[in-house]
Symmetry: D2
Subunit: 365 residues, 4 copies
């Protein structure tokens, strides 16, 4: 039922398990003639890859990728783009100790129940490794969006109790200058130290990623089921470990009055229609209004901890799940490019859909 | 692009504007042989309808519906179920004063930009009236879910600063005993008084709806894009005025450690595998685990207020949007059945999808 | 599973049974701003309606339709267009004699097997009455196609052994001048007389409809699964009573050599690239080449005959199916507008899809 | 727009060009627990591969395949099955002579018009090489169908003017005993000799493939757009070089009377409901009736001939297309496994869809 496909016009289908031969994807619907910058795709994969700093998993996975189709002399041909990312580290014996044990807050029990079979090595499709395919696809979506001036910046806004003041302007150029990907240098240092303490304790910690989309033209989205923020929300909630999504005023809106929440509409110095405030988060009635789109995504603490935990095995016997392996103490630094990639997939798809809207435009004639 | 269709196997397509002839829907994918209780559909529509109490809009809309196809002698036939809900109150002159003005935090400007044309009367497809179609479809989804023991209860958990203590068990039978649909009688009274004050001030207030799904079998959902909570999240975010969605531990997870957040797995007295806590909110790795599914939905204050607001008109001239009309001071009491309906649509769809999973089962042979 | 939906970008969903309240449809994906000529829709429905001449069924069905949404002041709004066509003649007692009998070459037995339930009156969704919804939707698709100069003409090319010489040019203006819709006046008269003889004998006869699409721009379609002729073929085969589809050289190609079949490419007097012959039928590699698209559709003789036939009933007992009711002796005269409508739906859908192809075109900006 | 995806529940997406790194596919929707016989997949690919006999192209392509995901210890896991078939022979210089020339009756001109870009080597996605991916996917579909007793046999029934008498029973065991895949040994020899003559003349010849599906249970399909034969028809028409499709009585029905065409219904010796004749071709009202499903597919002569042909180049200048390369003189012997594969994809998809039909069956509980 298309459960491994995302998008309608710009459409990505992924496959592959964490500890098989590799993961891959097909993009169907990339228009012809796009300059596909392979170095950019690689740089995006590198932002997600394990082992990139002391605060992420020390597992080393090469994220080299192979384009298998759809690109000819540097340009997209309009046909499906196939990409394969081989797994460099297929040590499934790392997982044999959990082959018959349901790890708490992992997908082991639910996966077994759903399929009646479990490829236990690395969690099968539940592994976060699958998100490498999303990042590769998202990189191509970003290249499309760049042609119309859309840019997407995500960053870590909270780790545990340490948080950025989101009422202040964000300096995007600071995001990639530190390993936690937080634009506030001071807060970044606190976050890094806190994550190192958590790691030493064999524990993990939750966090939040904030994302801002600039340059999105007004008119993207739809008024009913496929509201732009509903599709962005689904995209975010489909990322591993996400427990919540809010955009614009978000959950704060619950306490607000209409007179306070409504965004007055004004004409700016360039003669454009903008809003004075942006509680709407750049989207009104499910359709973009040209203001920055902003949203927050809540990530739970990683379920793998280096502590014994109460659980049961496949025979229904009580047992202890032992924590082993090389895992992230906090998922948000590596989640930043994934959030951006999923946002890019949604926007590229809605952008192409909007081309269908106007009866008077016959784009290709 | 199917922007007015929701679901894949159990699939709903809606049409109709707020102030046209009526709204309607087609359900394609309802299995044959379901007993369709028309009175139940009506009772669900009545929970959503305007004018039902002093704290909602005093606009009176009859929510009678006509089944146009797909039901024969009280049972579904397996063919599309067509339902039409005529509009009883088509006073589009109520809206002439806003025909050329973009109301702040409404969809007027975005709609005009998207379509290049605007059916201004009542907001076209952006009107919350469209949700009546969802409630009718959701009622049929609930009838399917009932046959496997799934029940869905939503309620108002917060209005402005007044909130229910969600750490306490919820008494479902109290929900419909008060007009604000809050299961805590004392809090309900405070909420009602507060909403009446807001209404007198010509203002509106935000609120939160909490939903609990009991009896959902383990195994529904998918591990990648179509995670059960991702589809529920999209469903909720597609409801008018929603700004945020969280499930299980939700945004609180950001501050939590793995050792605290993980749900230990145990065997209960009936020999079933359950979890000790339920921070996972009944879903692990995108697949239901048999525990109650719970989530919160944040609703912004209604945009229509009885106050003049700074805005521009279609000619780009600064003007004042005057507030008129009969609108809800707080949307959450009437949002309760909509939240339930959308949850039911997602579950019915995933339930039917799961029938396709097992190669050994040939249901119809 | 979307079994009642046709198309992807220009997308039609139908509902309704032959002898219920009526039939209806939703068009999702009609672009905004189209002038919707309601009289034209009515005239198309009139071409399909029963009782229009002595050679079709004498059942009288009014084909009045109601637009329920999506059109505002004569123009499409970009939102779903809902149309309802009430049934004027709901005499389900006409069908009581066949309630428990499986009529030969009807869908009675298969329908019962599929759904486990049967709305026997008029055949439920299997009734050709459902095609009225297609004709209404197709009329709107034709209006879109007209804006880019595409015209579609279908006609009756064969009835029984009587056939038109398809190697001669077709005079479209003759098609609607006779009741059998055959452009060759002499052949038309022979067909009409032959159908009258068949009718008197209580029998029915097969026929063929030929369709020519002029003005289709090159570039519509896709090279793999969604070849333009594959989608047209599916559209035709989804019409009741159709047993075969061929385009261009069709089944004659089986006997031909490549040197004879290949269409040499030349430049015409206007400097356009055309082909000397058109064995390709206007489509090469699944994509239109700008030449006329032509195809033939074979219709079997109507299954209802006024003769007793050997069959079994729902208890598995041998019995005789008695022929009653008012049915068409030959289906092709009324099939002409249905063939055109389905062709229009395919082309409008592929036309809108093609807008998504070029990365350099941002239609709506 | 999903133009490279086929099916809904059992869903195949393909990618890859003829002369790139290879071609591949993802199956999404294969149920978990299926025994996947890799040798069978290989044997199906071998039936399609070039160079297998003197009457097909002498190009040698290894059709080895790699399973990249979705199979674990010999069984499907319910997750996407990724398969890659590397290209062994990437001589794109073979094609440089046609880089700027539009070959008659090839997709060169239409492809260029559609995408504004052309990967000329081997025809990009228009190459018949893409069908190897279909055969691999079809092999897995056949394994599913085998579990319910469905078998599919295609064979060559006509080459040029030489044809099999289809009114006689077919001996399936003879099909693979000769290189033309014709079950009548005498006719087979005539076909082979004829194809050899055609080849020597540098020409090509059309042909017909007939397919019979035995053991299909009644109840598969749908009554409106997704009629079983409409989906089979689209599947066949999506195969390269196909110009026509007919099932059951096919185009012969045009000359038949209802009294002659209708299939009388009887009870056979096992007490099953069958029909006396099978003009319906195993499908009535779009739904299978349990009788053998049979259909014919017309293939045009291959467009590449070893003769100079009149055409134009990309500058619009008249020129001669020279025939070179190693191509099939007649496509039907290698088309036999492709026809079977596409039929298997349609049936597996409809079979899984039917599981959703009955409200009383909860397959997975």
């Amino acid at each position: 039922m298309a459960a491994n496909t995302f998008g309608e016009v710009f459409r990505v289908t992924t496959f592959g398990e964490s500890h098989g031969k590799g993961i891959g994807l097909i993009i169907d619907g990339c228009p012809a003639g796009l300059d596909v910058d392979l170095d950019f795709i690689q740089s995006e994969l590198d932002r997600r890859k394990p082992g990139q700093s002391k605060i992420v998993t020390q597992r080393h996975e090469e994220e080299s990728f192979m384009v298998q189709s759809g690109i000819w002399e540097g340009k997209s041909t309009g046909t499906p783009i196939g990409i394969f990312i081989p797994n460099s580290d297929q040590r499934s014996k790392d997982y044999e100790h959990i082959a018959r044990v349901y790890r708490p807050s992992h997908a082991d029990f639910t996966y077994q129940t759903k399929y009646g079979i479990r490829d236990y090595a690395g969690g099968g499709r539940s592994s976060a490794r699958e998100t490498a395919a999303r990042v590769a696809a998202g990189a191509i979506a970003k290249l499309i969006l760049k042609t119309i001036g859309v840019s997407i910046h995500a960053f870590v806004s909270q780790v545990g109790h340490i948080k950025v003041d989101l009422s202040q302007p964000v300096n995007y150029s600071n995001i990639e200058t530190n390993i936690v990907r937080c634009p506030d240098e001071l807060i970044a240092t606190q976050m890094i130290n806190f994550i190192m303490d958590i790691k030493k304790a064999g524990d993990t910690i939750g966090g939040m990623v904030t994302c801002i989309i600039d340059g999105c033209p007004a008119g993207l989205g739809a008024p009913v089921f496929d509201k732009l923020h509903a599709d962005i929300g689904k995209a975010m909630l489909s990322i591993n470990a996400v427990k919540g999504f809010e955009f614009g005023s978000g959950f704060d809106c619950v306490r607000m009055r209409g007179s306070e929440h409504n965004d007055a509409i004004i004409i700016n110095v360039n003669g454009n229609i903008i809003t004075k405030t942006n509680h709407s988060g750049g989207i009104q009635g499910g359709i973009s209004n040209g203001m920055p789109i902003n949203f927050n995504v809540a990530f739970k603490p990683v379920a793998t901890i280096i502590q014994g935990q109460q659980t049961v095995d496949m025979d229904g016997e009580a047992t202890i799940a032992e924590g082993k392996g090389r895992h992230d103490p906090c998922v948000v630094p590596r989640a930043v490019p994934i959030v951006e990639a999923m946002a890019a997939l949604v926007l590229a798809d809605h952008f192409k859909k909007q081309n269908n809207q106007d009866v008077k435009v016959f784009a290709y004639l």
